[in-house]
């Protein structure tokens, strides 16, 4: 058999395998993407971690080191000095025009119950305020929900801010514009 013939044979074999694999792959992809069938949450990928997953895992170790150092370096809270925290207004709205206004927010950097959350709405110099107690969340302090009586607000755009005060922390949020209908 000449070299040319051998090469030709090799090409044919490689091409055939290639076509077979593409066909098989397409079938599997089709099966995976088939719509209209009952959705079974029974797929489990038992493959070993991908290279990307391994890299992410390794990179996380750096974050772990950072976290450990950060915790070690964390200064003690000075008595009487409240830490600056960041309140955030995260949602606001009315179920329909004319109904009460509901506003929600949280405070980053602290997890505690019993702090004072104060929502202040301001429009053309007039202020409406509501206060609720904070409650612990997984990784923040919740200041939700505020329910502002519609009767205390007139329609239009109000500037809203969330203030937080507790024995250990204090902060105010950025201002957001809330349209009251």
């Amino acid at each position: 058999m000449t070299k040319k013939t051998k090469n030709k044979k090799k090409y044919v074999i490689l091409l055939s395998v290639l076509v077979l694999m593409v066909g098989l792959g397409s079938y599997v992809l089709f099966q995976k993407n088939k719509k209209g069938e009952p959705h079974m949450q029974d797929t489990i990928n038992y493959a070993p971690p991908t290279e990307t997953e391994k890299k992410e895992t390794d990179a996380h170790k750096d974050k772990v080191v950072e976290q450990m150092r950060s915790e070690a370096d964390q200064p003690a809270q000075e008595p009487g000095v409240r830490k600056k925290v960041t309140p955030v207004i995260s949602y606001w709205g009315q179920s329909d025009p004319g109904s009460n206004l509901e506003v929600g927010g949280f405070v980053q950097g602290v997890i505690e119950d019993g702090g004072e959350c104060k929502l202040v709405l301001e429009k053309q110099g007039r202020e409406v305020a509501e206060m609720i107690s904070s409650k612990k969340d997984a990784r923040s302090t919740s200041c939700s929900p505020f329910v502002v009586q519609r009767s205390s607000l007139d329609s239009g755009k109000w500037n809203a801010k969330l203030f937080y005060t507790s024995g250990t922390s204090v902060g105010e949020s950025n201002q957001v514009m809330i349209e009251v209908k």
């Binding site: 395998v17 992410e56 915790e71 949602y91 969340d137 990784r139 939700s144």
Partner: protein, 782 residues
Amino acid sequence: MCGNKLIQKTIVAAFCAVAACFLFPNHIFALSGSDFRAGNIISDSVFFNGSTMTLGEVQAFLNAKVPSCDTWGTQPSGEPGYPTRADWGRANGAAPPYTCLRDYRQNTPNRPAEPGLCMGYRATPNQLASEIIYYVAESCGINPKALIVLLQKEQSLITDDWPWPIQYRSATGYGCPDTAPCDAEYYGFFNQVYAAARQFKRYTQGGFNHRAGMNNSVRYHPNVACGSSIVYIENQATAGLYNYTPYQPNKAALDNLYGTGDNCSSYGNRNFWRLFNDWFGSTQGGYLLRTIDNATVYLVVNDTKYPISDINVLDAFSPLGPVGYVSPQYLASKSTGSVLKRLVRSEDGTVYFVDSGIKLPFTSCANIEHYGYTCGDSINLTSSQLALLHTGPLMTRVYGTTSGKKFFIESGKKREVYDLQSLQLQGIGTTYNVLKESGLNHLTYGTPIIRDNVVVTTRGTNNLALNYEGSLRNLDKSLYSQTVLSSVLPNQSLDIQSVDKLAKAGDFRGFIRNVANTKFYLLVGNGKVELTDPNKWTNNYQAVSDLLLNQFPTVSNGINQGLIKSPSDATVYYVENQKKRPIAAWDDLLRVNANPTISTISNYYISALATGTRLLGPGRLVKSPNDATVYIIDGLNKKIPLTTFSVSQDLNLGTQVSTVGNDVLNAYSSTPFYASIKIACGGKNYFVTRGVAYEVSGAMQSHYQFSYISLDQLTCNNLKTQVKPIDRFIRSSDGTIYYIEDGKKRAFAGFNAYLAYGGNGNNTIQASDYAIGTIPTGQLIY
């Protein structure tokens, strides 16, 4: 040579690419950042399904993700100055041995059951991480896959082959605020997993930082300067994820889904979504759920499950699917509501009818009641669920179906509509939507809405009826299809249940008359034909209003000749005395009418007329098979016995005799007289010989003293004889000339005597010997 190498390399490269697809399926099926939906990271039905993995599957998964644990940190650390992981670990207070999650054990504490949160936990010594994940998932109703992904995205614990104690300590990040130390109260793997699962459940009770069913301002990063965007959070699970980790991935993070973005990128929720998809498939499940063992599908709305008992209702709500399989425990955690009907209600109180994934608003409870429901039958869907149903036009009282029907819905009944004109005549609006007929399965049929003077086909059958003066009259199919009825009157189908609701009034007869009883008609293909002799056809005519009658144009054709045939048969009939008499031969037909017009009429009329006896042509010579007597057919109903062919020859009827059946011949009544050459036709007397009919009139009657037989005019028409006036001179075949006088024939003795009496070639007729023999002989004339 170079070409061959290039081809070789190309094929090998392509091979490797395809092989990689199989070796690294995650990447070929890897998501695109554009698939990420900030408002719906994971469905409620997926996130809150606590039974998606067996204990064995959890352990097998942990084993698979750490095929080899670097217990002693012998692998290179990658940190300059610290050759091994152990070196690096020691330098950071995390010396080996390292316990991988697959092998991790701890004593677990009791936890009390808290209704609405978790079902508690039983203290167990030396439990594996897989057991903790499995049992916490079960207790708190959180998908173990979600807990696994949480552990990975917070601390990479699933894939870390040399995890440090701090990673177990804060395994889910619970109690660890941004920019502040973690709360030691929640330290430890079990505490972390249980607290996180419990908190996700707690979020479902509301009152936290992000709200499902509303627009939320979701930030991209802890740095406020990175900004935020408004996200409509569609479900509670997604709201919970944002409560836990209040950041969404920005564009840079999504564009590099498996890598890093920019300084404003956060990865927590992105990685949750990505990892879940890569490891366990789609995060999306619908609101239509069932268990594997029970075929009942439920629509789940918050904490209530509504059983669906009708496949058509399931189809109506299909955009809320596809149907997903969940654990029995998950479904049992939902209270069971009423059987799902097609009515849903939005937060603003609007009630909708649902069909084919569309919600159509009702304008009032009164309209809802027409549809057989009450306002209270509606269930409240969440905003997200409602949004999945396309909003259609207002629900109308007229309901059109995809199968082409229309119904007017009234007082819990569906009244089938014949056509829009029927609606208009009753003052009902004609606007309608087109929906599936199954949407009305719960309604019974009412009386259909139909106008007069229309044809109704009972759907699914060949039955036709004419709706006339408020009642249905059966309509013969051939009467309809073979006459003007099919071209003038509309024909629509109604269901048999609708037809059953209409009053019935027998059959529609095709023999019609006006109400004044002055005109009588048959229907033909292009109109109605007025009958000049209605009793010839029938004595039972159906009165028809002018309104209907005037829809049929009056046309003329030869039908009044009485010669008819059907469209599907060649037999010609003659109509007489309300019967149809078949005419077997063309000759017979011409003997009845020398210029026939044969009218083709509907088979209905052919069938309606009784069949009479076969019609024989007037003037024909016939006999029966078993009798030698020959008859001349006289008119339509008589036969005259023939004693000699001399008569038929003189009458120019020939000698050809047809044999016909006894039944046919016996239908003709026999005359009391024999055939004669002395006949009366049309009131005139004739002496017929050698095919010439000599009229005997005036003074000749005293000489030709005959008895004449009266023949039917039809017979007379068929004699085909010449007609001439008669004189007194007759010549026989032997040349003898006779003079007729006072009823006798007197032969001339010689030619001179003939001439002396005034005989000549013009007044002397040639008669047959038979004819001459019928005249008594008188004295010779010399």
